[in-house]
Symmetry: D2
């Protein structure tokens, strides 16, 4: 059969295509000349499958879409503490080009608005790096997120730089506050280059999914940034990514997202999906009109909302409580996060002290989170202290310490293998 997923994207595209509200951004001469009609959507899954619909091959400049990724690169290069000294993480409630500075420290309010993004740009790589080299490093980094090398649109870059007075003002203000290292003009020149990097909607979806996969690019499998960096970037995108419409966006769409004045829009549901959209006509907030509508439909139709609570996990523990040979059995199901581990411990708690065997089966546990390992480990030790022999079953070979006899495991594994053959 043919998967209906591309058709879903196409349906959403068709449903939004009639919407010709909004206008192409006009404050950058080269962007003002853009064709307003192209429309494309893309979706990337955690395992790197990319779907798309519409003008998916059409490239456009990243503009503000570059901001979360360059923020990630700065965090990777210098750590959260150093970056936070220069750029705060608070929603500003202001437009993207506002002078939103923390009144106490003079830092930009967050890295998603221009004044913060220009500052963030200068935090990638060695502080003494010449401007062009820093820009090269950033373009290479953006390519790591996309999983392929990206190019710069030099016509847009030079057009934007020639009329970059407001950004020059922002850079000079941060410089005057003692926050920006180096020359403000060079910072804007580099930032403008970063904004002029070309990508298509499939790139956006992959870049988004990389953030949503703990920093691992789902195409290349490469860890582009550490997991805590990806998490921090997503958190900041959630509160600050959609500028002064952030609250309404999180409520109605519920997909941490970022937009660019070229008409691009990307969104992430961690562990679930990366999304990209492109349509140049913008609304009053500077977001793609059709892109926003498409995201609203994706959220509504696909249930893609970060606050959508999974139902109580009645099945985190398998329903059988005895193995076929009559031993006590606790069969875990699902990623070993806190709630799963807590429930397992409650099952352990119900086991009276005694010298009978307890079999704990990890076969259906796809991921062993640290907290879960620690909690289960604690529980296993207590079961042992209660007199039980504990037999761990993990055909994936991930259990960090052997607490059972080799042959015994082997036997149980055989038994399990039979069950699931």
């Amino acid at each position: 059969m043919r998967s209906p997923v591309p058709e879903y994207l196409q349906e959403i595209l068709d449903a939004c295509a009639g919407n010709d509200a909004g206008a192409v951004a006009d404050y950058i001469p080269e962007l003002a000349a853009a064709d307003p009609e192209p429309f494309a959507l893309a979706m990337c899954t955690p395992d790197g499958t990319v779907y798309s619909a519409g003008d998916a091959a059409r490239r456009f400049t990243l503009q503000s879409l570059s901001k979360p990724f360059v923020y990630a690169l700065a965090l990777r290069d210098h750590g959260a503490e150093r970056v936070e000294e220069a750029v705060d993480m608070e929603p500003s409630g202001d437009a993207f080009n506002e002078i939103s500075l923390d009144p106490g420290t003079g830092r930009p309010e967050n890295p998603m608005i221009n004044i913060g993004a220009i500052t963030t740009h200068t935090l990638v790589g060695d502080p003494d790096l010449p401007g062009p080299e820093r820009a090269e490093r950033i373009i290479a980094g953006l390519g790591e997120f996309a999983g392929r090398d990206l190019e710069v649109d030099d016509a847009v870059r030079s057009s934007e730089l020639a009329t970059s007075w407001r950004n020059q003002a922002l850079a000079n203000l941060v410089k005057a506050n003692g926050i920006l290292r180096g020359d403000p003009y060079e910072a804007v020149a580099g930032y403008t280059r970063q904004c002029a990097v070309l990508a298509d909607v499939r790139d956006l979806a992959v870049m988004a999914m990389t953030l949503g996969s703990g920093g691992v690019n789902p195409l290349t499998g490469r860890q582009v940034v550490p997991e805590p960096v990806a998490r921090q970037v997503l958190a900041v995108m959630t509160t600050c990514g959609m500028y002064d419409a952030a609250g309404d966006w999180l409520t109605t769409v519920g997909i941490p997202a970022k937009s660019g004045v070229s008409g691009g829009l990307l969104g992430v549901l961690p562990g679930q999906v990366g999304l990209g959209a492109y349509s140049p006509r913008l609304d009053a907030f500077g977001h793609s009109v059709r892109g926003v509508e498409a995201f609203e439909r994706l959220s509504e139709d696909m249930g893609l909302h970060i606050m959508r609570a999974p139902a109580p996990s009645i099945d985190m523990i398998g329903r059988r409580s005895r193995t076929r040979d009559g031993r006590r059995l606790v069969a875990l199901q699902g990623a070993l996060t806190f709630p799963v581990a807590e429930m397992a411990l409650r099952h352990f708690e119900a086991i009276e002290p005694g010298d009978d065997d307890v079999v704990v089966d990890f076969t259906l546990v796809p991921r062993m989170a640290d907290v879960g390992v620690r909690m289960i480990g604690e529980g296993l030790e207590r079961l042992s202290a209660d007199g039980h022999d504990v037999i761990l079953v993990d055909p994936h070979g991930r259990i960090p310490h052997a607490v059972t006899e080799e042959d015994y495991i082997a036997r149980v594994v055989d038994e399990q293998a039979e069950l699931r053959r």
Copy 2:
């Protein structure tokens, strides 16, 4: 064995207990006299298990902790559209008692700051309800979230009302803007009563988990508010709940949360856990010092962060591709959300047209989200159109339409039952 979870809470409590920074709120005379020492933590799981540590029986007034729940009641009573006409959902970047009004409409910026919460108070129940009856309705609603009847501390209420000039100012401003119905003084009087409702940390944890379980109270099983209401409240708590520290909080703690000046703090990870803390000394933002530290440790130690991406779900489909009797098998694992359904469709897609049987096993699917049902349904129809006989296996009896012959299912179910017996 004895579960180590209460000990975890106790350890966190012990680790934070030495922190005596901050000061008891002094702007309400009755609160200023509070004992600064009590400290308690509680945790509620999706299935209603409640753990606690410290002075868990100590009651305190809800104050701002009441805001998300009263917002939920207003949304339940009048719908998102009507409530949004009166109160916006944008982070204000200002302190809790600021005059944060949308410049265009004169609406409060969000329901988590006082000016928005007073307005929200008047949106519960019939517009013409006398003030005291509205307050009663709200106190009853707060009790539904807690799973038990809650009382008002009348000494705190009257002390707070007698010095409520700032709140009077806020109510009169909203009245002057044509947003508030009824008398501003009565609105503040009712709001002050709402703030004086008494609860303990276990109540907080249950109330939080109710929001995190799609509006269903995990103790009573009652649907207190519809799922979309719970989702909206969580989204607004995420961007606005921690006032001007919202961005930093989401990044470092990552638990949508709300605090009160009495020293209470609650947090929610949807589908995972509800949390409550109490310790009266406050930091500069008005948050409980020890409560914040405890939440930081819970986030760090327990991996409780909303942006923590589950690993790519390599195990969303069982690894066997054939049943024991040789038929094609697609065995789904996990809640049937978009990513799981998408992966299933990819497995369906790999099946060439033909007249052989395809078995689709829903045994390990705890929840059937609408979108997943639709997507899988579409896939099943396509498999049928390709010539296949499709056999669905669902021992939980949830499959909405019968596409297979009765006896055939029965046989397969028997087979599965044997596998898992």
Copy 3:
């Protein structure tokens, strides 16, 4: 002959009467019903002559026109220091009903905006005065400025009080900041009574001239407030009286002024003229449209602009340097302010030491300012020290110390009297 001055006023009235732009204030129900057509002008000279044109008998409520006078009463009752503790004197750059508070102290920015005027109201009379008595004291004080008893329009007062939410908000904010003594509601009730005092344009002109005559009412001759109080009120009116249009107003019109939403407008040129206007249609700043136009014409046509520099005073010293009997003569002309005294000293300086007589004639000096008396006194002592006999001539009898022989003065005075008989 008949003075053309009333005709000048009438001409200005006629020139502006065709202007029907603007709209009657609608936020107070009783004002919204006002007849928009009446138009009147009045002018009061330093010696109490009052001219008027148009509907000069039409009375209207003072509204914000009361603010500078009540500020004057507060300064009179408690002194500049105490009043400044509660109300600052800085232009706010905001509209009249804005929440303009000094961020450091929580004081209202100035007494000309509502939040400052409500606070100022409570500073008249004893702090513990019951509200109604304070209002009576204020109404009596306003009458002292007008030179006659004034009444309250109770229909406007009660209509305004019933919809005074914004003012209630302002009063409660100042109360919350610890600035306002007493009950906020009572403050607004009293302030609303003050605003509802009735006057006509002739009253406005007299009240204005009282401020412009060092606090002395030109009709009654009574010192209503001390000179430094009148000076301070004029200074504050200059920077704050026309709200957010203060800078433009001072530049183009150059007459310290105050307007009221009922359509009244008053202005003062110290020592020169007091002006009043009335026409209910208001511009976007809340100023009477025709009133503003009339003031612009008065400024332009009559040269009434506070920054209009008198020409270099070539005639501050009479051109004769010898009396008829040959003695040295320095004949002063004009008020004995610093520039006149300085020039006199320069004439004294040109007199070589010697024992000849020097006659200093004060006949044409209408006013002896302290600084001038001191400076001239110093000069006279030095002339004496140089050996000269100094003969002072002052037929008005104001010279504070006799430095000359009685008969000699008498002789000179006779001589002068002859000259001027």
Copy 4:
């Protein structure tokens, strides 16, 4: 004798010299190295007499002291309308280096804050003038105000330009708003040159007196800018010159003034005096600590306050009502402004119709303001219409039209001359 005026200045200097509060401006490296001790005062009278005390020969850079004069040059070159399109005239209530822009138009709030002054700089001379030529034109213009050529301190200029990030930011913001013509960097470079012009306190006093003499330099007698320009500059200095302390300054000191971070301070009382002060230590507002104290003492001790009302001018008309030969006499005294003319008309009004002569004596009228000429002219015509023969006496030869017979005048003049011989 020796004039005590220099001693007055010296006394004020001595009284303030012990005040070593404040600190030298440190944000410009070259200024930070300045000797904090020098202290000087100067005073210029309307006829060009200059007094000084202290380190009067010490030169310092004008910095913000240049702003009102360059504003005057822009008004002279392009008119009020064109300049107002680019720079508003409202007090900003903000510090000198704030981003105070009108929200509607994007114009700087006023020309006394940096953002307005940089914009104003570009409005001097032809719009297409190369930057250095514009700066030369401005330096020449400043020299016209001072009455001598002024030089630039190139060390200060280049030091300031090298750290001019904040000003660069301001210029770029105004450019981005479409307000600034030409290159923002060049504007700041030119503005920095303007700020680095050297002057001493005597220059300040002369420059100030030029504004206070209707634009006529009291030393050179040259009309540097037209009278309406001087008036507008003084009005704007009054509301905006002392930045966020403007209201307090006008109330307590009452001298329209401007300060510079180098420690200079100048003030003007129109028609009375120009003042200059210099002492480098600054208060929190950026004003010279000793300069401010000296101005306060000058205002208090010398009665130099713009709102000090002259006493009712009881002597605007001479007390004799008959000439010695028995004719009706109205002898005017003082500049022929509106109040004097109005009083004259009242005297005319008291004259019954008839054919007797009326003598109007202008001998003691130093200045004939347009409005006075018009009003008196009207009165004279009406006296004629009533049947009177009107005889004008003006030994200064300024009466524009001869209404009396030559010999008759001659006779009266003789008579007057005798009176005053």
